[in-house]
């Protein structure tokens, strides 16, 4: 296969899509997570069961939705339920395999901030807030985070814990009584990070083609650990790129 040019967002989306399999139920956030989930459904995971927090269960949009509640999500869903039901009957009991989240800030233990930069009472930047993320992070069997990597986003300690990743380290999720395993993978435009099995600290496990470990460390606000068996992310295939571009209209 000949090499094809692609953007950093494209390999991020493709890498995220590859984390999903056809037998999964996936709680999909809008934006990059939605693009990745729809890409997976159109490539290697045709039976991926997608839930959006607007209440659409098993939706199969033929175009990429622009909001979390586009009409196409309702039209193509197995069924549409109320918002209380999606959270109480579907998310909370731990029925969902994977939750897909974004982040404004993420720290070394994969705790996520989407609430505020600076002080809560006197914010530097007020962000949209929690939405369904705290409970997605708590209750899905595992969580995948998609976020562009930079020192502004990858901080040693988030200004505000909107959604709990691995708290302060090993055993914290269990102590807090959280059902799911928490973030098992963070996919960025530079590489892939996963919590170290022992320390729970986010560790670089794969770098994307053309990126160096030094690049990734330079974009990380803490002293980033690197896995001994560091992998190189496989470049997007022509087929993946073609489907992705038909989705995004790029």
């Amino acid at each position: 296969m000949t090499a094809t040019a692609y953007t950093a967002d494209e390999i991020m989306t493709v890498a995220a899509a590859r984390s999903l399999t056809s037998d999964m139920a996936c709680f999909v956030g809008i934006g990059l997570p939605s693009t990745a989930a729809n890409l997976a459904r159109r490539t290697h995971a045709p039976d991926l069961w997608m839930i959006y927090e607007s209440g659409t269960l098993g939706t199969e949009p033929d175009t990429l939705p622009l909001s979390i509640g586009d009409g196409v999500l309702a039209d193509t869903a197995d069924t549409v339920v109320s918002v209380p039901e999606i959270f109480n009957y579907w998310l909370q009991p731990g029925r969902i395999d994977v939750g897909f989240l974004g982040a404004a800030q993420i720290d070394r233990y994969a705790n996520i901030n989407t609430t505020v930069i600076g002080d809560y009472a006197d914010p530097k930047v007020r962000l949209p807030g929690a939405g369904g993320a705290p409970e997605i992070a708590a209750s899905c069997r595992e969580v995948i985070v998609i976020v562009r990597q930079s020192r502004r986003a990858f901080v040693d300690k988030v200004d505000f814990v909107t959604s709990v990743g691995h708290g302060g380290g090993p055993g914290d999720r269990e102590r807090l009584g959280l059902l799911g395993k928490g973030p098992t993978r963070v996919i960025t435009d530079l590489g892939i990070l996963e919590p170290d099995p022992n320390t729970r600290e986010l560790t670089l496990v794969s770098v994307h083609p053309g990126t160096t470990v030094a690049d990734v460390r330079a974009a990380t606000g803490w002293d980033l650990a690197v896995a001994p068996d560091l992998a190189a992310t496989e470049a997007p295939t022509a087929s993946e790129l073609s489907v992705l571009r038909s989705l995004t209209g790029a």
Partner: protein
């Protein structure tokens, strides 16, 4: 039962009220929000899971004293700049916030609809919301001893929703993504519904929510009243309007010009009609 929109707002929404204009991306009661601005309501506590553009507009116009919410953004575009300006700079008036997660807000409305003072959920544990929001507490299961989270019922003075149709008796029918509208309506002391059309007979539709007229205080016909959001089966979402809002809302002067031209300029004279 069926009233003009201006009359409905005048009778049902009072300064200082807790008001919920609910809608989850779909069926946002935008026309009602603009009428609230036109009538100069202030000191409102605005509640909504997903305050978006119309709340940004109401906040920018100075209607709100407080916002109770779980996600405040311009869906698919980014942040709300009037909301930011109110929180960061107190413009045009300071805005107090009471911040929850979606699961918390949904359960608060459900408790309100159920006539109980609180709801129990797994939520917030380990987050910094627990330290910032007084209306999040812990509760122990009396059977297992397990510790869970409690949130108080949310019972708005008025809930306003937009729906596709009502009949002349005031029964309301909505379908597509129905969000938390049923719970928000049932939790409220008064409910105003704007609709695309008033019809003689409500043909049942799969997935519909029906609000019986007994829980609807007034219905106002407002065709297109959810624009730029959408009404399933009537019109689609105007995504460009959401994108354009970003530029308008970033600048106070641009926002005030927009208010003048698009809200006050669109004011219709008060019409007759009273709520029974």
């Amino acid at each position: 039962m069926i009233v003009p929109l201006d009359e409905g707002i005048r009778e049902l929404v009072h300064d200082g009220d807790t008001v919920a204009l609910e809608g989850f991306t779909h069926l946002i009661p935008v026309a009602a929000g603009h009428e609230i601005i036109r009538q100069g309501r202030h000191d409102l506590t605005l509640a909504r899971m997903t305050p978006d553009v119309v709340y940004d507009q109401m906040i920018g116009a100075g209607c709100a004293r407080k916002l109770v919410f779980s996600w405040g953004g311009n869906p698919g575009v980014g942040s709300l700049h009037r909301f930011r300006d109110a929180i960061q700079n107190g413009w045009p008036v300071p805005l107090e916030i009471e911040e929850h997660s979606h699961a918390g807000m949904a359960n608060r409305y459900a408790a309100g609809a159920s006539g109980v003072p609180f709801a129990v959920l797994r939520g917030y544990v380990g987050t910094d919301l627990m330290g910032q929001t007084a209306s999040i507490k812990t509760i122990d299961c009396p059977f297992t001893g397990e510790r869970l989270t409690a949130v108080p019922a949310l019972n708005p003075d008025v809930t306003i929703v937009h729906a596709q149709r009502a009949d002349r008796a005031g029964n309301v029918q909505l379908w597509g993504i129905t969000g938390v509208q049923k719970e928000a309506a049932l939790a409220a002391r008064r409910t105003l519904v704007t609709v695309e059309e008033v019809v003689d007979e409500l043909e049942p539709v799969p997935g519909q929510v029906l609000l019986p007229s007994r829980v609807v205080t007034a219905v106002a016909e407002a065709p297109g009243g959810a624009r730029p959001s959408y009404a399933h089966g009537y019109y689609i979402r105007d995504n460009s309007a959401y994108q354009e809002w970003d530029a308008i809302s970033r600048d106070r002067d641009a926002f005030e010009r927009w208010l003048e031209s698009d809200v006050y300029g669109g004011a219709r004279p008060a019409r007759e009609g009273r709520i029974p």
